[in-house]
Subunit: 275 residues, 2 copies
């Protein structure tokens, strides 16, 4: 094999994984360790990789190490599509209340740079939107729940009593015919108040949430106004939502860079309401 080809292959292997042990590279290429060492040294000198004891790591962007993304990985593409679709339903100038959670965080991502007023009790969402010039951000205080970084409790509830928004966007831990559930009763308590703040209540949830229950019941299905789900929604669940009188928006996850055009809308047009 040509030395140049071998090095390119080497770089490719390391880049793909983010790292590689010398041993694995020797086995992969079928050359001696000396050769691999020399190649790695050259690549290090060129700045493409960084040599470490026992192997090498990719020197460029920290492509967030595939192994580390496990948890976020659950229905990530679906969540992104849901976020884009939900954001597309928000008008410029609107006020939105965003609950905590990974799905609502995707909504926030899709809202970055939009001229909207966002109220949230989620620290990650606040962090995301604080830098934005266009977005007005109002943070709900309270006791910060360490695992998820959301503000809960009486302080958060009290703060919401003086706040009204056009749309309250809430996540869900589980959705069954009996209603919407979440895992934590303190969280549910706070979310109930959120629902009172919103002229409309939008639930965002990927299809895996359907048929699952969680600890605490947030509300009945009919208490929400609309829901955004991904394409994996089963027909029976769709019927259940329609039956409860919800506007159902199905987000298509086909293309990676979802452009946020809602793919499907049932039960009439949403009324325009520019400010």
């Amino acid at each position: 094999m040509l030395a140049e080809t071998r090095r390119r292959l080497l770089l490719d292997l390391i880049t793909r994984q983010g790292y590689a042990t010398l041993d694995s590279l020797v086995r992969e290429l079928g050359v001696s360790d000396s050769t691999v060492r020399r190649d790695l040294e050259a690549l290090d000198l060129a700045g493409s990789i960084k040599r470490t004891h026992g192997g090498a790591v990719y020197a460029g962007e920290v492509r967030s190490m595939p192994a580390f993304d496990d948890r976020t990985g659950t229905a990530a593409a679906e969540k992104r599509a849901i976020g884009a679709t939900a954001a597309a339903l928000i008008e410029d100038g609107d006020t939105v209340l965003l609950d905590g959670g990974t799905t609502t965080l995707e909504v926030a991502r899709a809202l970055v740079g939009r001229r909207v007023q966002v109220v949230t009790n989620s620290l990650p969402i606040a962090q995301l939107l604080a830098a934005s010039q266009q977005t007005d951000l109002i943070l709900l205080g309270g006791y910060i729940y360490p695992r998820t970084g959301v503000a809960l409790g009486p302080l958060a509830i009290a703060a919401m009593q003086t706040i009204r928004v056009r749309t309250a966007i809430l996540g869900a831990g589980g959705i069954v015919p009996e209603g919407v559930f979440n895992s934590n009763s303190l969280l549910v308590e706070t979310e109930r108040q959120m629902m009172r703040c919103g002229q409309e209540v939008m639930i965002v949830a990927d299809h895996t949430k359907f048929g699952r229950m969680a600890l605490a019941r947030l509300c009945g299905l009919e208490e929400a106004t609309s829901i955004v789900v991904d394409g994996g929604l089963r027909e029976a669940d769709r019927a259940m939502l329609d039956g409860a009188g919800l506007r159902v928006h199905v987000a298509q996850a086909n293309d990676g860079r979802a452009n946020g055009v809602p793919a499907e809308t049932s039960r009439g047009e949403r009324e325009r309401n520019d400010v």
Copy 2:
């Protein structure tokens, strides 16, 4: 496993949970405790985490808000020393209110992993402490002031009316005989309420703040209880503070790894008040 990979994994585990015991990390990675210790030490040195008794907590930089870094450069070492000294004056189990600002952010850094209850209106500080298991965090909500990431306004003030803390720690834009000044009147309004919340009021400010005025007067010197300054404090300013009846703590910035022992304390010992 590659050492580099192991460290990244380690950092990821700690970042995810905010805190991890050494034991849990040993079990998770399947390596010896010595190795984990060494890795944690390296990560601590790099500033990514902070080593604690029996484990480690996340202490990484608060990214994605570049605006905050600009001012950090000024008197960075002094500020770190001030932070360490101020944190050393806080007892375990205490409740503390932390104002926004780069100096108070250093106080928060020094408090990471301590068993204290922190109330703050600063997004960066909240971000820093949200992960920590030992630290209870209560966030004050309100309109997020984009430039600095602090929550201000009526919502913040209202939230504080139900809160009492042992020590309120406030930053200052300028300190002159007429009192303590800050640059923004909305900020000052909020800070006034902070002072009412605290049994004691501690001002943290590096020596460059002395003799400088700012837009809005926060309070007279005598309204604060104590002040933490760095070693650059001039004699005349020291006399001014003493004259106002403040406890003055001078932070020594000599060693890089500030251990937080107050270098000098005037006007009596601080009284112990364990919970």
